[in-house]
């Protein structure tokens, strides 16, 4: 049993899972106190200098996610929200928080879908974790393996081209999630992208000089062509997500994707983590910059005409979609 599953607190903040939670009432003298209730602090937000105890930290995270959803109209009455559940920490937290918030929305339905890319030594654990989570919540859940959609595993496709892993996987996963959302009858596809992911994307698009992609939003960009994607955790940091899971006894020590080492994102992640550590708020400032640039660019960028892939008919910007172009180069 891991250390953080030591005891259950009665009368806690209302864990959606009812799981065992981290003990936090053994209070040595040198423990900072919660700014809201003077209980023992479990999280220190360096940007705001706030200390929060378990209960106030959990309430703060859930309220911030609710506010993101509310202010951006991410979920509206009647929505069927399909959660892209990999079983890793971000999508696990996303499912837990959305399930917690569900009673506050009118006529909204949640379900989950898992894409099995076929990454040996990595996906087995996260898929097992996803299965356990949806079973606990009694949530509808479907799994779609790459082999069913594309005729092979990601491992097989990447032999000899590991350095392209993230772009290859990204194209295949995007298609797989679109298919899954369509099959499920989803009106929204919710992904677990967190503040770190979003800030990294902003930075990478700046580094690439890709202004259209910088201001493009995956939800508003769908224009009816695909199920709109929403990112309710976009203002919650990776560390906050880890603490949230740990406080609910839902943290699992899962492996990292073996292909992550090849990605430009890995370098950007490391750089931004260092900056955030030295200058708290860096990631949020990047997101604010993006919002300002979006406002400045609104209506000024030439819209790409919607075309249809001459091979598969999917909407795309060129003559052939990225997936069909990629498929020609994949080894089986």
């Amino acid at each position: 049993m891991p250390l953080w599953r030591t005891r259950t607190r009665s009368g806690s903040s209302g864990s959606p899972t009812g799981d065992e939670a981290v003990a936090c009432d053994d209070v040595p003298v040198k423990t900072p106190r919660c700014d809201c209730c003077s209980g023992p602090a479990v999280f220190h937000d360096k940007k705001t200098a706030r200390h929060l105890c378990r209960e106030h930290f959990i309430a703060d995270i859930e309220e911030r996610v609710a506010e993101t959803i509310r202010s951006r109209h991410l979920i509206v009455p009647g929505d069927h929200v399909v959660i892209a559940l990999s079983g890793g920490k971000d999508s696990t937290a996303l499912l837990m928080i959305l399930a917690r918030l569900l009673p506050s929305w009118d006529s909204v339905r949640l379900s989950a879908v898992t894409i099995d890319e076929g990454i040996a030594g990595y996906r087995e654990d996260t898929i097992h974790s996803a299965d356990q989570l949806v079973a606990r919540y009694g949530m509808d859940h479907t799994s779609i393996p790459f082999t069913d959609l594309f005729g092979g595993t990601l491992d097989a496709f990447l032999k000899g081209r590991e350095a392209e892993a993230c772009s290859v996987c990204g194209i295949l996963r995007r298609k797989a999630l679109n298919v899954a959302a369509e099959r499920a009858g989803a009106t929204k596809l919710a992904t677990g992208h967190n503040l770190d992911d979003e800030a990294q994307s902003v930075f990478m698009n700046v580094l690439r000089g890709d202004l259209p992609r910088l201001v493009r939003d995956s939800g508003s960009d769908s224009k009816g062509r695909f199920t709109p994607r929403i990112k309710p955790l976009m203002f919650v940091s990776e560390k906050e997500i880890a603490v949230y899971l740990m406080l609910h006894g839902a943290w699992a020590d899962l492996p990292e994707c073996p292909y992550a080492v090849h990605a430009l994102r890995g370098e950007v992640r490391s750089m931004l983590a260092t900056l955030e550590s030295k200058h708290p708020g860096t990631m949020l400032h990047l997101m604010e910059s993006k919002t300002r640039i979006e406002a400045q660019c609104a209506g000024r960028l030439d819209e790409e005409p919607v075309r249809h892939c001459r091979e598969c008919g999917d909407p795309c910007s060129g003559e052939t979609c990225q997936l069909c172009t990629l498929k020609k180069t994949l080894s089986q």
Binding site: L3, W4, D26, K30, A41, A242, L254, E256, A273
Partner: protein, 64 residues
């Protein structure tokens, strides 16, 4: 102080009393990439750990 590292190995040190942040940096980690439990309880980076404590350092895996 017993320190349990992310790879599950452990070591003893007499570094305390020291802040969690100083300890973590001394061990070569960036505090933003780890979470620390003191005697089974999550603590903040400005909390203090003593030589009698068991300190567990958990690395936040990326992705998911």
């Amino acid at each position: 102080m017993k320190i349990i590292l992310p790879d599950k190995t452990s070591r003893e040190t007499k570094a305390g009393p020291v802040t969690v942040e100083a300890l973590v940096r001394d061990l070569g980690f960036d505090p933003i990439e780890v979470i620390v439990a003191r005697n089974g309880t999550l603590v903040t980076e400005d909390a203090v750990v003593e030589n009698t404590d068991e300190v567990r350092i958990i690395r936040i895996a990326h992705g998911g």
